[in-house]
C-alpha cells in the first residue's frame, strides 16, 4: 500500500514536471520569426523587436494615411493578412488585432501557429499595457519598460503645460462623427489641455453630432481627420461653408499618430499643445 502510494505520487510529480516543461519550453525561447498583420501591432513590434526578429508587417503599416511609421515599414516585406501567405513565411508568432479577419486567425491557429490578438487601444493606459505585453511576447521586456517610462515622463511634461482654464475642442470626423473621452483621440485632447466638447453636448461616448449643434457650440478648436483620396459625401461635410466659418483659424488635422497606442501619440499631443500655446 505505501509503495503503490509512493509510486502514484511519483507519477503525478513526473506528469506535473512534464506538463511544466511542455508549457514552459516553447515560451522560454524568444520568437525568431514574428509576423504582424494589424496596423497597431505592426508599429509596436517595429518599435520593440530585436533586429531580424520581425519578418513582416501589414501593408497598412506602410500607408502614411494610417501609419505613423510608414517609412520604417517599407523596410519589411508587407502582408495583406491572408493566412496562406503568412503561413508560408514560417512564423513562430503572429500578431493580430481583434478586428483582423477572424477566418485567417482561426486558420493560422489550426495550422499550429501561435497567434496573439491585441484589441484596439482606447486609452493611454491601454497603450502602456499593450507595449508591456508586446515586450513580454518578444522577450524585450527591458526595452518595453524603458519605452513606457520615457512615454510617461514626456506625457507628464506635456500635461504640466495644461492651462487652468481649458479651451474647448471638438473631434469632427467624416459623416459628422464625434469621438468622446473614452477614446485615444479624446485622451489626446485631454493631455493637450483641451476639454472635449462631445461630453458637454451629451455624447461622452462619441456619436453623430449635427453640424448645427457644433456651429452653435462655437468650439475653440475643431479637429478634423486627413482626407482620403477620391470623393465622398461623408467627407464633403468637412468642407461645409458653415463648418469652415466656425473653424476658421481654429482647425487642426488629426492623422496617423492619433490611431495606435505607441509613443507617437505624444507627437499628436505636442502638436496640439503648440497650437494652443500659439493661440494665446
Amino acid at each position: 500500500m505505501p509503495v503503490s502510494a509512493r509510486r502514484s505520487d511519483l507519477c503525478a510529480l513526473l506528469a506535473a514536471l512534464g506538463f511544466w516543461l511542455g508549457a514552459a519550453l516553447p515560451a522560454a525561447a524568444a520568437p525568431e520569426r514574428v509576423v504582424s498583420m494589424n496596423l497597431c501591432t505592426d508599429q509596436m513590434a517595429m518599435l520593440l523587436a530585436a533586429p531580424g526578429q520581425l519578418v513582416s508587417v501589414s501593408h497598412l503599416a506602410a500607408d502614411p494615411m494610417s501609419s505613423a511609421m510608414a517609412d520604417a515599414a517599407r523596410a519589411y516585406p508587407l502582408n495583406r493578412g491572408q493566412a496562406e501567405r503568412i503561413f508560408l513565411m514560417k512564423p513562430d508568432l503572429v500578431l493580430a488585432g481583434s478586428y483582423t479577419a477572424q477566418a485567417s486567425v482561426d486558420m493560422l491557429r489550426r495550422l499550429g501557429i501561435r497567434v496573439e490578438v491585441f484589441p484596439p487601444e482606447t486609452s493611454f493606459a491601454d497603450a502602456r499595457a499593450h507595449l508591456r505585453r508586446m515586450g513580454r511576447l518578444l522577450e524585450r521586456e527591458a526595452e518595453a519598460a524603458a519605452m513606457i517610462a520615457d512615454f510617461d515622463a514626456r506625457l507628464a511634461a506635456l500635461r504640466a503645460r495644461s492651462p487652468d482654464l481649458r479651451p474647448e475642442a471638438v473631434l469632427y470626423g467624416a459623416g459628422g462623427y464625434t469621438s468622446g473621452n473614452a477614446t485615444l483621440a479624446g485622451e489626446i485632447l485631454d493631455a493637450a489641455g483641451y476639454t472635449n466638447l462631445a461630453a458637454a453636448l451629451g455624447r461622452a461616448g462619441g456619436g453623430a453630432l449635427a453640424l448645427e449643434e457644433l456651429v452653435l457650440a462655437r468650439p475653440d478648436l475643431v479637429v478634423t481627420p486627413r482626407r482620403y483620396g477620391g470623393q465622398s459625401r461623408s467627407e464633403a461635410l468637412l468642407d461645409h461653408p458653415a463648418l469652415r466659418r466656425v473653424a476658421q483659424g481654429h482647425r487642426a488635422r488629426s492623422g496617423a499618430r492619433w490611431v495606435c497606442g505607441t509613443p507617437h501619440l505624444l507627437g499628436a499631443v505636442a502638436g496640439l499643445v503648440r497650437l494652443r500655446e500659439a493661440g494665446r
Binding site: E212, V215, G230, S232, P241, A242, V246
Partner: protein, 329 residues
C-alpha cells in the same frame, strides 16, 4: 375644390412647410430666435445655422420637389400613362449614375458645374432610351419593363463606381444615391442646381397647351397645330435638366412624381396644363414634408427621404397597376 382656389392653397401649404422646415433641426433654437436670425441676421452662430444649414435645406426641398412633381406630371401627360414617373422609369437612377461619375472621376472637383451637367447627361440618356422603347403612346408594360432594366443597370454601375473608389466612405453612400437626402447640403448646392432646374421648369411649363391638345389624340393635336416632334424634344430636355440637377444634389428620390399628380389630377379637372403648376407645388410640399419627417423621426440617423416617399408611393403604385390591369391596357 375649385381649380382657382387650388393653386393658392397649395402655395400656402408650401410656404407653411417651408417655415416648419426652417425651424426644425437638432440645434436648440427658439422659433423667434431662429426666424430673426434668418431675416435680420441677429446672433452670429444662429445666423450661420439658419442661413448656411437650414435655409439651403429648405430651399432644396422646394426645388427638388417641384422638379420631380413637374417632371412626373409632364411625362404622364405626354405618354398619357399615370405610371410614367422619373423614379420608376429609371431617370433618377441614371441621373445619380451621372452625378457619381462626375464626383468620382474628380470632374466635379475640377469644374463645379460638371456635377449638375453630368446628372443632366445621365437623365437625358435614360429619357431618350425610354421614349425610344415606349413609343408615342407609352404602353405601360414596355415603359415599366424598360424602366426596371435602366434602373437596375444604372444602380449596378453606380455601385461598381462607388466600390472601386479609393475613398473608404464612398461605398457606404450607395444608399444616399439610391434613396436621396437633403442633410448637410449647402448654398453651394442650391446655386449649382438652380439654373438647370429653372431652365427645365421653363421648358416643361411651355408644354401645357400641347399636353391639353394631346388628350384628344395625336391626330387631333396635330390638327390643332401642335408639333409633336418639337414637343417631345422640349419634354426630354426639360425633364433631364430638372430631374438631373435635382438628383445630382439630393440623390434619387422616388415616387414624388407619381403620388403628387395622381392626388391632384381630380382636383384640376383632368387638364394636364393645370396639373403642371399644381404638381410642381404639390411635389415641393411632399418633399418638404418628408424632409421634416425624417428629422423628427430619427434626428441623428440621416434617414433617407426615399424611404418615406416610397412608403407613401409604393402602395399607390401597386393600386395604379391594379387599376391599369383591370382597365385592360
Amino acid at each position: 375644390m375649385r381649380p382657382a382656389l387650388l393653386l393658392p392653397a397649395l402655395a400656402l401649404l408650401v410656404a407653411g412647410l417651408f417655415t416648419v422646415s426652417l425651424v426644425t433641426g437638432p440645434a436648440a433654437l427658439g422659433l423667434g430666435e431662429s426666424l430673426s436670425a434668418l431675416v435680420r441676421g441677429e446672433g452670429e452662430a444662429a445666423v450661420l445655422v439658419m442661413r448656411e444649414i437650414r435655409l439651403p435645406r429648405a430651399l432644396l426641398g422646394v426645388m427638388v420637389g417641384a422638379s420631380l412633381g413637374l417632371a412626373g406630371a409632364a411625362m404622364q401627360g405626354y405618354l398619357r400613362n399615370p405610371l410614367a414617373e422619373p423614379g420608376l422609369i429609371g431617370v433618377t437612377s441614371s441621373a445619380a449614375l451621372g452625378a457619381v461619375l462626375a464626383l468620382q472621376t474628380g470632374l466635379a472637383a475640377a469644374f463645379a458645374l460638371a456635377l449638375p451637367l453630368s446628372g443632366l447627361g445621365g437623365a437625358l440618356v435614360s429619357v431618350l432610351i425610354l421614349l425610344m422603347l415606349a413609343g408615342p403612346y407609352g404602353a405601360s408594360l414596355t415603359l415599366i419593363l424598360a424602366g426596371i432594366a435602366v434602373s437596375a443597370l444604372a444602380g449596378a454601375l453606380m455601385a461598381l463606381v462607388l466600390n472601386l473608389s479609393p475613398n473608404p466612405y464612398a461605398a457606404a453612400e450607395i444608399v444616399f444615391w439610391l434613396l436621396g437626402s437633403l442633410a448637410d447640403r449647402s448654398m453651394v448646392h442650391v446655386w449649382l442646381a438652380l439654373p438647370f432646374m429653372a431652365l427645365g421648369w421653363t421648358m416643361l411649363a411651355t408644354l401645357g397647351r400641347g399636353l391639353d391638345a394631346l388628350t384628344l389624340g395625336e391626330d387631333a393635336a396635330g390638327a390643332l397645330g401642335i408639333r409633336l416632334g418639337r414637343m417631345r424634344l422640349v419634354l426630354v430636355l426639360g425633364v433631364a435638366a430638372s430631374v438631373g440637377a435635382a438628383t445630382a444634389v439630393a440623390g434619387a428620390i422616388g415616387f414624388v412624381g407619381l403620388v403628387v399628380p395622381h392626388l391632384l389630377r381630380p382636383l384640376v379637372g383632368a387638364r394636364p396644363s393645370r396639373l403642371l403648376t399644381a404638381s410642381a407645388l404639390g411635389g415641393a410640399a411632399m418633399v418638404l414634408a418628408a424632409d421634416i419627417a425624417v428629422r423628427l423621426i430619427a434626428p441623428d440617423r440621416d434617414l433617407k427621404l426615399g424611404v418615406l416617399t416610397a412608403l407613401v408611393g409604393a402602395p399607390l403604385f401597386l393600386h395604379l397597376i391594379w387599376r391599369t390591369r383591370r382597365a385592360g391596357i
